[in-house]
Amino acid sequence: MKILVGYKRVVDYNVRIQVKADGMGVVTDGVKLSANPFDDIALEEALRLREKGLAEEVVVVTIGSADLTAHLRNGLAMGANRAIHVQTGDAVSPLTAARVFLKLAEKEQPGLFILGKQAIDDDANQTGQMLAALWDRPQATFASKVELTDGKAVVTREVDSGLETIEADLPAVITTDLRLNEPRFIKLPDIMKAKSKPIEVIELATLGVDAANHVTTTHYAAPAKRSKGAMVKDAAELVAALKQKGLL
């Protein structure tokens, strides 16, 4: 079985992003970029399934600008067999990403797609569900445990009410939650090895994908700030302050 992994590069989660003064975007120049944390988890899960003998090949896929080669090399160094780079200079919406993944599903015939539950730049949380819909296959979102047996995946999902378990026939789409696993660190020799692994480049325009955007971003603003309040010196003062506000 082949596993395709969504592997998006985003602004590192430690960066406190700033909105540009003209409200036309956020400052990304000179900002640290990393793999989306949920995608590292997706890749780790795929690698573990391969190491258990449940998959033969793990392919990392990114959709975006031409400068993502080094990012893909990281995924290869972590252990993916090969990479697919769907290139476009335009911003990629979740719907477009899902349509691109669908084309790759038809071409590559994977048994499993593992994506992150959300990209921490757009925080959309859509692509996996959209891919599953277009592909007409099961989705198991927010996964915290994955077991593969007899052509199906048994997935535990982190939901608001607790932990839900569902069974999905393969092929299927899984999206990862944070507690699914802890991604491994990349070792130096693996970086060397990754240099010879193949990266297939496909121009998005050649895929015949409808990249229409139905939702346009017109303005960026900084969030309303909460200001620093008062410090109290002890428990009695805290209780008094809360009582005064009518909160206790």
Binding site: Q129, A132, P138, G162, L242
Partner: protein
């Protein structure tokens, strides 16, 4: 004119409070019609509750055995079919809504607007990106259906003094069998619900262990609060996952939020920025949580919590 379809969230025959919040957002669209749809194997009781939400024109029920559990793959084709008569489809931005709404959007061939914070016009909304570090205004095409999830912490629950009509509808669409429900392990708790409680007490890594967390529960019970936690506390196994507050947990807006032994990482703060009053108790005076706290107290939580109980 706009017509909004709101997807009801429910579990064990009870309507989830997030539905009434999604209705508030629907009201802000100023539509002609707001219908709520309840998909279930036995929708009557939930539909009767939904019919009380003020602003709702009609509650539609879709009763099918396949709808016994909220599986996105099963629900989405039915909702997509029903969406034909509407300009907007709204779902709460809970794990339920986040799971099903994008599947509906894709079936309709449109992008989705996630986590709507405000409605600026019928097709113009604001939503957070980068863990809430930027708020964008987005505009949906005039020609397409707007599919959106509603950030529940941004919206009050619409009142429940109404009396809308309930109407059973049949949706003729084939449903897949490739996805099956196995089980739900629910956190059983007599405490107030984290997502709708007016007071929340949360513990972080500073609490130190599962056993120590008792001190948080005890204090919360004393003031009638729900209990939450940071991701670090969940990851360390002190508490179950459904208690996580933050970017990847629950986004909440209680009147009082008390962060105890929580440093205040940006991903945690995302979940509480709409809280009325934030109280921080932390032994590190430099902890970032104090930058956003309305009331801060530096010290050892194990000493302070008993003192607080005393002072009550």
């Amino acid at each position: 004119m706009s017509k909004v379809l709101v997807i009801a969230e429910h579990l064990d025959g009870k309507l989830n409070a997030s539905t009434a919040r999604a209705v508030s957002a629907a009201v802000a669209v100023k539509p002609e019609v707001i219908d709520v749809v309840v998909l279930s194997d036995a929708p009557e009781v939930v539909a009767a509750e939904a019919a009380k939400i003020v602003g709702v024109s009609k509650v539609l029920t879709v009763a099918r055995v396949e709808n016994a559990h909220a599986l996105a793959a099963i629900l989405a084709p039915q909702i997509a079919k029903l969406a034909a008569g509407y300009t907007h489809v709204f779902a709460p931005s809970t794990t339920f809504g986040k799971d099903v709404a994008p599947r509906v959007a894709a079936l309709l061939g449109v992008s989705q607007v996630s986590d709507v914070m405000s409605v600026e016009a019928a097709r113009r909304f604001t939503r957070p990106i980068y863990a809430g570090n930027a708020i964008v205004t987005v505009e949906a095409d005039a020609s397409s259906v707007v599919v959106a999830t509603i950030r529940t912490a941004s919206w009050p629950a619409a009142a429940s003094t109404g009396a809308a009509a309930v109407e059973a509808v049949a949706i003729d669409v084939a449903l897949p069998t490739h996805t099956r429900f196995v089980g739900l392990q629910q956190g059983k708790s007599d405490r107030p619900d984290l997502q709708s409680a007016s007071k929340v007490v949360s513990g972080g890594r500073g609490v130190g262990s599962k056993e120590n967390f008792e001190i948080i529960y005890k204090f919360a019970d004393r003031i009638g609060a729900a209990v939450g936690a940071s991701r670090a506390a969940v990851d360390a196994g002190y508490v179950p996952n459904e208690m996580q507050v933050g970017q990847t947990g629950k986004i909440i807006a209680p009147e009082l939020y008390m962060a105890i032994g929580i440093s205040g990482a940006i991903q945690h703060l995302t979940g509480i920025k709409d809280a009325g009053t934030i109280v921080a108790i932390n032994k590190d005076a430099e902890a970032p949580i104090f930058e956003v706290a309305d009331l801060g107290l530096v010290g050892d939580l194990f000493k302070i919590l008993p003192e607080l109980e005393q002072a009550l």
